[in-house]
């Protein structure tokens, strides 16, 4: 049996719709960037751009007045800003997980979603990096975080997990960008070669770096991709571990927990997969990618969500158990009383409900393969994961050791505007990406197809002619936007 053949005995189905030709895959994916954007794209884009505008207004006001416009106050000095930061970094994790870890494990189904997820990583990490940047109070002095020579001749304290975090998230963004771009090079060459206008040819050609599909190049390219995957695998596990150390190295009950690094990583993968699914379902229906994004991919993602949901649920349970087992009265007061029964009990209920209870419906194959169900569940998971960070940060801070220091946090309208604004920023980037870049890796999808196998006796002949799908099929017949 060839490597590309599905194992029908265990119920596997092909990764690309059967009898698709190589040219059809190119066509399906590349035409999205060449034709006029569908109405659905414009509607989504206008909505996203509106929220980006709200973000700009709120952040401008924040810079004008200072961080006092947020609800952060004693004792809750870290609130939505850090919640949003952790939430966005977490969402970013699925990208590298899919592109690196699933690559190393030779999970070939990842080809349908990896480009997508990598782009999501980039945009999510951009949104994440905004928050520490604007939370420092004087954002024009944000460069003080870097180890640069200065007039006070002092350096950052490298024992602080906050500076580890700066290096971890900065490295993560840079490596994700390099990984994403490396994967894009051959596909940019495809767009360059298909371009009907001069400017398309120039722009895509510039970024394709003169790629000519040479096997001498593929050899180094594949090695580079493998090395990037290999170094990104420990990187993705390290980033959220380091983020969790921002909390775990402190002595606050609810933060001072050794389970945090693996717990944060599991939660990050969980929320990241949910976000990939939300965005993928929208893109699949708006851009009609049913040939490459099959129900099999979606079902596998749902199984992944079920697995990571239970990992997260295990971590929640273990926090409770250790709080009781430790016998520490502050730990017990926090976990056994403040979280489920304190003033923010509803946040805790959202967290447990969305993250542990709702995904259990994926034990049923009927639910795993139902598109409206998975859309709603993926959004609920992201809500639940946002509440998880809210619970960890605000609930741990609002009741300190001394009852006289207790206080409640209330978000302001600016908090809401900045947070929903970053969702707009994220989707604005994402929609532009979907419109102008191949959102599925054509190269990698083709490599999983029967035609890619040179050892087939019939020689990998195309299963049916290129022009079989209407006017868009043949090369010359393609008329992209603005070609006339």
């Amino acid at each position: 049996m060839a490597y590309w053949e599905p194992i029908t005995e265990i119920g596997e189905v092909p990764l690309v719709q059967p009898k698709s030709s190589l040219a059809e895959v190119t066509e399906d994916i590349a035409r999205v960037t060449e034709k006029r954007a569908p109405l659905g794209w414009w509607l989504c884009f206008l909505l996203a751009a509106t929220f980006t505008g709200i973000f700009t207004l709120c952040v401008s006001y924040l810079f004008y007045r200072g961080v006092g416009v947020w609800g952060n106050t004693s004792p809750v000095y870290w609130a939505w800003d850090i919640t949003n930061f952790v939430w966005w970094v977490g969402i970013g994790h699925a990208g590298t997980l899919i592109s690196a870890i699933l690559f190393i494990f030779r999970q070939r189904w990842r080809t349908a979603i990896n480009r997508f997820a990598e782009a999501m990583t980039l945009f999510a990490v951009i949104c994440a990096l905004i928050f520490p940047g604007i939370h420092v109070g004087r954002p024009w002095l944000a460069f003080w975080m870097f180890p640069l020579p200065n007039q006070m001749t002092i350096w950052p304290n490298f024992k602080s997990p906050l500076i580890w975090d700066l290096f971890a998230v900065g490295t993560y963004f840079t490596v994700s960008l390099l990984f994403w771009y490396t994967g894009l090079i051959p596909d940019l060459a495809t767009l360059r070669d298909r371009s009907m206008t001069k400017w398309r040819q120039r722009v895509y050609g510039f970024f394709a770096l003169g790629w000519r599909g040479s096997n001498r190049h593929w050899q180094n390219y594949e090695r580079a991709y493998l090395i990037l995957a290999a170094i990104s695998t420990p990187l993705v596990l390290s980033v959220h571990s380091v983020v969790s150390m921002d909390f775990a190295t402190s002595v606050i009950p609810g933060w001072h927990t050794t389970i945090f690094p693996p717990y944060f990583v599991a939660g990050a993968v969980f929320s990241g997969f949910a976000m990939v699914e939300t965005v993928l379902l929208i893109a699949r229906s708006v851009f009609k990618l049913h040939r490459v994004v099959l129900m099999r991919h979606l079902e596998l993602m749902n199984k992944f969500l079920l697995l990571t949901s239970m990992l997260v649920g295990y971590a929640y349970a273990m926090e409770f158990f250790i709080a009781w087992y430790s016998g520490d009265e502050y730990e017990m007061a926090h976990f056994l009383h403040n979280r489920p029964m304190g003033p923010y009990w509803w946040a805790w209920a959202w967290m447990v409900g969305c993250n542990c209870v709702v995904p259990q419906i994926y034990w049923s194959k009927k639910m795993r393969t139902n598109i409206p169900v998975m859309f709603v569940v993926s959004i609920l998971i992201n809500i639940g994961m946002w509440f998880e960070r809210f619970v960890i940060i605000v609930l741990s801070l609002n009741r300190d050791f001394l009852p006289s220091a207790w206080g409640l946090f209330r978000p302001t309208i600016i908090d809401v505007g900045v947070f929903t604004g970053t969702i707009g920023v994220f989707f604005t980037f994402f929609l532009l990406f979907m419109r102008w870049l191949p959102m599925v890796s054509m190269t990698e999808v083709k490599a999983t197809m029967a035609q890619a196998d040179p050892h087939r006796p019939e020689g990998g002949h195309e299963s049916h002619p290129v022009a079989a799908h209407g006017a868009l099929g043949a090369h010359g017949a393609l008329v992209p936007e603005g070609a006339e």
Partner: protein, 191 residues
């Protein structure tokens, strides 16, 4: 002669380009080209074809050596930076823990790891581009219109005229014997 050269510049073949319809055909054609003893030749495929490295007789990629050098540089840079900044230039004693190594080595681990990864990532991408001599936006094969399909669904082999064994007719005959779907000679102006 000089006048003629100005009006119609001399052209000579620079690349012979053969097109194949399947991965199977191009793989076996590549074996024949290698057996014929060519050096300056290449295959062009929309995705990496299994077994092509062996068919072309390529040596293993040298990229790993570049990356390991970068990784060690990153690790050393991180250690030296933190040790010098917190332990030598402005010793920071926090919580009765001295600023430099070996006392604070455990807290140096995260940043040493991150910079190792960061330097390695730059090493693998820039090293790959360097080994491939990219970016290179001009190449004789781009003169061919049919070559546009090399990034879509067709497979190509190019033999360059620079090759010491190059002979136009022999190269064409070789491709014809290897089931090429189309053969094209790309010419270049001779200065």
């Amino acid at each position: 002669m000089e006048m003629k050269a100005q009006t119609a510049p001399l052209r000579a073949p620079s690349v012979v380009l053969a097109e194949f319809e399947t991965a199977h055909d191009v793989l076996h054609a590549a074996e024949k080209v290698r057996e014929a003893g060519y050096v300056n030749w290449d295959t062009h495929t929309p995705f990496p074809v299994h077994g092509m490295d062996r068919a072309m007789g390529l040596k293993d990629s040298r990229l790993g050596w570049i990356v390991i050098t970068c990784a060690i540089t990153g690790l050393t840079t991180a250690f030296v930076m933190m040790h010098w900044m917190n332990g030598v230039d402005y010793p920071l004693n926090i919580g009765d823990k001295p600023g430099g190594a070996p006392g604070t080595l455990p807290s140096m681990v995260p940043i040493m790891f991150e910079l190792t990864v960061l330097f390695s990532a730059f090493g693998s991408v820039l090293g790959m581009l360097h080994l491939n001599r990219l970016p290179r936006h001009h190449h004789p094969v781009f003169e061919s219109d049919r070559f546009r399909r090399a990034s879509d669904d067709r497979f190509f082999i190019s033999i360059e005229a620079e090759d010491p064994k190059f002979d136009l007719h022999k190269a064409k005959a070789l491709f014809e014997g290897a089931h090429a779907a189309h053969i094209e000679v790309i010419e270049e102006e001779v200065s």
